[in-house]
């Protein structure tokens, strides 16, 4: 694997199979760098969701090595994995908002998991809801939110704890084109603050909306590299930004 010092994620010869079926991912090797914006593309069934599951530690690979934040997460003791997961924000394809919790409580979930006091979390959550335009729906239950609102609540939940990596699975799949662009702007704003963003999408038109993005393409479980995203040294200079402090006050976040 190349340059483990500066990378945030490294996959080396990773393969994944479910049960005794054939591999859905084969020989996947790549390196993700801090502060970059990646699109993961491919046709339906190409293995995008499986790869994202590996990225947010919902699945163990059948073979290969995965290193995140300098740790080999395959051999990492199970009780250390929650600490790694807290550094990763996930936007699920189906949002997975907790149905019995309000929008506020859903967004506050990662902060509560990390043990933040109720007093301290009130303002960041309120600011985040304002940022994604859901401040007026903070007490609403997920079933009363529109698809776009649910999407934004899911994104707010994914980024509220200021993760170092944001993984989003088809985040624009259920929204209209205008909302899709808005959501991408949110991801870009986060990326400008130093978060590494990985967005899985099969919508090729979306790729052009983020000019600085790098593209990884999956085809039948194999990874290709049309923009040199996986090459080291990278094809072009990566953005030079400082990683955000976990204590960055929420008022410094860009407004919608």
């Amino acid at each position: 694997m190349s340059d483990p010092e500066s990378s945030i994620v490294q996959f080396a010869n990773v393969g994944l199979r479910y049960g005794t079926d054939r591999e859905v991912l084969s020989d996947i090797s790549f390196t993700l760098y801090p502060g970059s914006f990646y699109f993961l593309t491919g046709a339906s069934g190409a293995g995008k969701t499986s790869m994202l599951k590996l990225l947010y530690l919902a699945q163990r690979p059948s073979r290969g090595i995965i290193s995140m934040f300098g740790e080999d997460v395959i051999t990492l003791p199970r009780n250390c994995l929650p600490g790694v997961r807290r550094r990763i924000g996930v936007v699920f394809q189906d949002f997975r908002l907790v149905p019995h919790l309000s929008t506020f409580d859903n967004v506050a979930l990662p902060l509560r998991i990390s043990g933040m006091s109720e007093e301290r979390l009130q303002k960041p959550v309120a600011d985040m809801l304002e940022w994604v335009g859901l401040d007026h729906r903070s007490e609403a239950r997920p079933e009363t939110l529109s698809g776009g609102e649910q999407q934004r609540a899911a994104i707010a939940r994914a980024v509220i704890a200021r993760p170092e990596i944001l993984v989003a699975d088809e985040p624009t799949g259920n929204v209209d084109p205008e909302m899709a662009v808005k959501l991408l702007r949110l991801f870009e704003a986060l990326n400008r603050l130093g978060t590494t963003v990985v967005v899985a999408t099969h919508d090729v038109h979306l790729l052009r909306k983020v000019p600085d993005s790098l593209i990884m393409r999956l085809d039948k479980g194999k990874l290709s590299d049309p923009t040199g995203a996986l090459r080291y040294p990278p094809k072009r200079d990566l953005p030079k930004r400082d990683l955000p402090s976990r204590d960055v006050p929420q008022r410094e976040l860009p407004r919608k």
């Binding site: 947010y56 530690l57 919902a58 699945q59 163990r60 199970r78 009780n79 994995l81 929650p82 600490g83 790694v84 997961r85 807290r86 996930v90 699920f92 997975r96 907790v98 149905p99 019995h100 919790l101 309000s102 409580d105 979930l109 990662p110 509560r112 998991i113 990390s114 043990g115 109720e118 939940r157």
Partner: protein, 306 residues
């Protein structure tokens, strides 16, 4: 058993992990199942403790007691041998007390079965003389054999028996009942644990998606298990309190019934302060058992996730 979600909004918050997801206690059958289990356990424990007390007090009462019967048809010879027996025991240092049971007392004891004993004896039914002896220390077989040998030399019609031997079968029966009570308590504990296990698994199944989300957001097994533990602890506390009250009511009513019997044996079965303390501890033990079972069940299920 259908188990409503333990993960609901609007319930009290306890500790750090409770803030992950607000919860309400599990409604539905769980508190009632626990209440019935605790009530049955309280009754079984009270019965076991009462039997233990009955056996203990009877044992104390007859420890060191022996009965000497002079089975002699001729009244004069019977009296003579009885006097010799009283004299023999009075002269021994290991005898705490010796008393010849008066003929009137004997007649009164036998009257329910033989009618007027004086008249019966006149008709040729001999009534043995009885000597009640209390030894200092327990009656061992060797001790009894030595005394029998010595006494027969002076009173050939004497028959000597340890009082404890008469009640041996009763003690055996009491001991069997005690084992039965212990077995019942163990079975009830197992059944309660199984009910909690089923409830926890059912709750895990119905909340699987939410648990996965918490897991992916970095929630620890301990935090997730904590939600279920508190839920089940609250149920067990409610069920335990209700079960204790039900059980105590039943024990009190049964106690009144037995007290009405007026039997000397049953009178020794009253429950002491330590017994009541043990009974009061049953719901607490039930809560601990339920919480441990819920935790182990949830942790075991979570271990299957990476």
């Amino acid at each position: 058993m259908s188990t409503p979600s333990p993960i609901r909004r609007g319930a009290p918050r306890f500790g750090d992990s409770a803030r992950l997801l607000q919860q309400a206690r599990i409604a539905g059958p769980m508190p009632w199942v626990i209440a019935i289990m605790i009530a049955l356990t309280v009754m079984a424990a009270a019965a076991g403790l009462a039997l233990n007390n009955i056996a203990g007090s009877a044992r104390d009462e007859i420890a060191g007691g022996i009965t000497v019967q002079i089975v002699e048809g001729a009244p004069i010879e019977r009296d003579r041998q009885a006097e010799r027996a009283v004299s023999y025991f009075s002269n021994r240092e290991d005898v705490a007390s010796v008393r010849r049971v008066p003929d009137e007392e004997l007649s009164a004891l036998l009257a329910p079965w033989l009618g007027d004993v004086g008249a019966a004896e006149d008709d040729g039914v001999p009534i043995p003389a009885l000597v009640d002896v209390r030894l200092s220390g327990p009656v061992t077989a060797q001790r009894l054999r030595n005394m029998r040998d010595e006494l027969l030399a002076q009173a050939p019609a004497a028959r000597i028996d340890a009082q404890a031997s008469w009640l041996g079968p009763v003690f055996d029966a009491v001991r069997s009942l005690q084992f039965l009570a212990i077995g019942l308590i163990a079975l009830l504990a197992l059944t309660s644990a199984a009910a909690v296990w089923l409830a926890a698994r059912s709750a895990l199944g119905s909340n699987r998606e939410t648990i996965e989300v918490i897991h992916h957001l970095g929630g620890t097994d301990g935090q997730i298990a904590g939600i279920f533990q508190r839920s089940i602890a609250w149920d067990a506390a409610l069920g335990g309190a209700a079960g204790l009250l039900l059980g105590l009511a039943a024990v009190f009513m049964l106690g009144q019934q037995f007290a009405g019997l007026g039997s000397g044996l049953v009178a020794g079965g009253g429950l002491g302060p330590l017994d009541w303390l043990a009974i009061a501890a049953i719901p607490v033990i039930g809560i601990v058992l339920a919480v441990i079972t819920a935790r182990l069940t949830v942790i075991a299920a979570l271990r299957r996730m990476i």
